[in-house]
């Protein structure tokens, strides 16, 4: 069924009786050409592009819970392509371009809003670093603009510009950045993939791999064995747990990241603002809630909930930047499990096991990557060679010394 304004009006006038489920609920087949593990944004996008762009047939997505119940439905919805390094920036810019055409492609309203993202500058050294990053972005075909304090004041007059510790001295803006309704991304890709014949199988947990003579023949699941020509793993925060079943140790630790949303307010915050120095970033949802977050809790966790010290730290950062926040009440807070890699950048690669492919290490930035991650993983699964913009996302980069470490933090996942 195609969605349109006309269809909405027609259904409104006829009692909404004509809507059909957006995707089927099939039982698993005994085998598929490609099985994708994980019904998050990346798994669903992979299935969609595999069927649509690369002529894939007989594809299934296996999800242990319900689609969209993982990080794709827990993130703070920010999209951007403001990276410095050559291994990253072309990939994220490819992703941003895919976002720009996504709703038309999927015929689904994902509420993509290019309201702009602003990274605040507080020191001369930071201005130098951000200027360099902006130039790297422009060289890779992205947009970037260095803003003066007056330009920022005109758009965000309510910020605390004269904080004693972190006075605002400027900012790096990417006007094409913004926010997306995250659940709609999972649902839109699911609907698109389903309409191309992909089986989306929920409540189906992968419990093991069947590996014979170094080749993966399929997966053991809570709904029985499912054979597969190729298996693609895209389980984000559960990567370590899943790949351990194939006896793999990964350059990844799982960490918890918290996020927060306030009660609904009138429109006050026009774009996304990040205050890296104060461990705080914020945007306002279309419902009016301020959506914000800060740093990782900082210790290995699979708990999907964090602890109070980070809540306090985020609240302090928020108050330092937006003093007007003081009387706003918090509505909800939650946590998600991040697949933090050893250099802060992702992996889209084959494994040493035949027919077994891996997509993970997205850290706290994988939502914006969803379209490109899906496209590039589908490319790898279909052609057995990396997509050019994802060619650096290899497993062996750690062994070869080719880390893609945007922040220069080294092998310390909780600092990326």
């Amino acid at each position: 069924m195609r969605y349109s304004g006309f269809k909405v009006i027609k259904e409104a006038l006829t009692g909404h009786k004509g809507w059909t489920p957006a995707w089927r609920d099939p039982d698993p087949q005994p085998s598929y050409d490609v099985v994708i593990i994980g019904g998050g944004g990346h798994g669903l996008a992979t299935a969609y592009y595999l069927a649509k762009q690369f002529g894939g047939k007989r594809i299934a997505v296996l999800e242990k819970g319900w689609i969209g119940g993982g990080n794709v439905g827990r993130n703070t919805t920010i999209i951007r392509s403001n990276y410095l390094l050559d291994g990253n920036e072309p990939f994220y810019e490819f992703s941003l371009k895919l976002w720009e055409g996504l709703e038309q492609d999927l015929n689904y309203n994902a509420m993509i809003s290019q309201r702009g993202i602003l990274n605040l500058i507080h020191t001369d050294a930071q201005r130098d670093a951000f200027t360099r990053r902006g130039n790297a972005m422009i060289l890779n075909g992205a947009d970037a603009e260095l803003l003066s304090v007056d330009q920022i004041r005109a758009r965000y007059p309510f910020m605390n510009f004269d904080d004693a510790r972190f006075p605002i001295k400027g900012g790096l803006a990417q006007h094409r950045g913004g926010t997306v309704r995250h659940d709609a991304v999972a649902w839109g890709y699911a609907r698109g993939a389903d309409s191309l014949g992909v089986d989306i199988i929920q409540n189906c947990e992968v419990t093991g791999f069947r590996i014979e003579n170094g080749v993966c023949k399929g997966v053991e699941t809570s709904r029985g064995f499912i054979g597969a020509g190729k298996v693609g793993c895209a389980v984000a925060g559960s990567s370590g747990r899943l790949m351990a079943k194939a006896d793999m140790r990964l350059p990844i630790e799982s960490h918890v990241l918290q996020a927060f949303v306030s009660e609904g307010l009138k429109p006050i915050l026009p774009g996304v603002v990040t205050f890296g120095a104060g461990h705080f970033y914020c945007s306002q949802s279309d419902k009016g809630g301020l959506v914000f977050g800060g740093d990782l809790d900082g210790y290995n966790s699979y708990a999907q909930r964090g602890n109070l010290p980070v809540v306090e730290d985020v609240a302090e950062g928020g108050m330092a930047l937006f003093p007007m926040l003081g009387r706003v009440r918090l509505l909800r807070m939650w946590g998600g499990i991040m697949d933090m890699s050893m250099d802060g950048s992702p992996i889209i690669d084959r494994t040493h096991i035949g027919g077994l492919y891996f997509n993970g290490g997205w850290c706290y930035g994988g939502f914006k990557a969803t379209p490109a991650s899906g496209w590039c993983f589908a490319h790898l699964l279909a052609k057995d060679e990396p997509h050019p913009v994802a060619a650096a996302y290899r497993f062996d980069r750690f062994e070869k010394g080719r880390m893609i470490d945007e922040k220069g933090m080294g092998a310390q996942p909780n600092l990326h």
């Binding site: 370590g240 210790y299 010290p309």
Partner: protein, 95 residues
């Protein structure tokens, strides 16, 4: 989280900084034949278990000792706290 420091008693986890898996105590032999492979595994690969995890915490805002904390990564429950020094000595890692 409260970490029950073996010398100082219960302390707020906020006083500590976190390093990671306690296997970092087991630094490979730099003269071994396969030292490059071993150091790659040591520096970059992790078990990353869901469940009991032995990990290194540094009491930065306290007595600056290193601890090995056994903690459940699913519930955050801490079941054992040892001085890293004692753990390292027991493994023959330190004088």
């Amino acid at each position: 989280m409260i970490i029950n420091h073996p010398l100082l008693g219960p302390r707020d986890a906020q006083e500590f900084t976190y390093l990671g898996d306690a296997s970092l105590i087991d630094r490979p032999d730099w003269q071994a034949e396969d030292a490059d492979r071993k150091f790659y595994e040591y520096a970059y690969l992790r078990d990353n278990p869901a469940g009991l995890h032995r990990e290194l915490w540094f009491h930065e805002q306290g007595d600056r000792s290193w601890l090995v904390v056994t903690r459940n990564t699913v519930t955050h429950e801490i079941t054992q706290v040892e001085l890293a020094r004692d753990v390292a000595r027991a493994r023959g890692r330190s004088a």
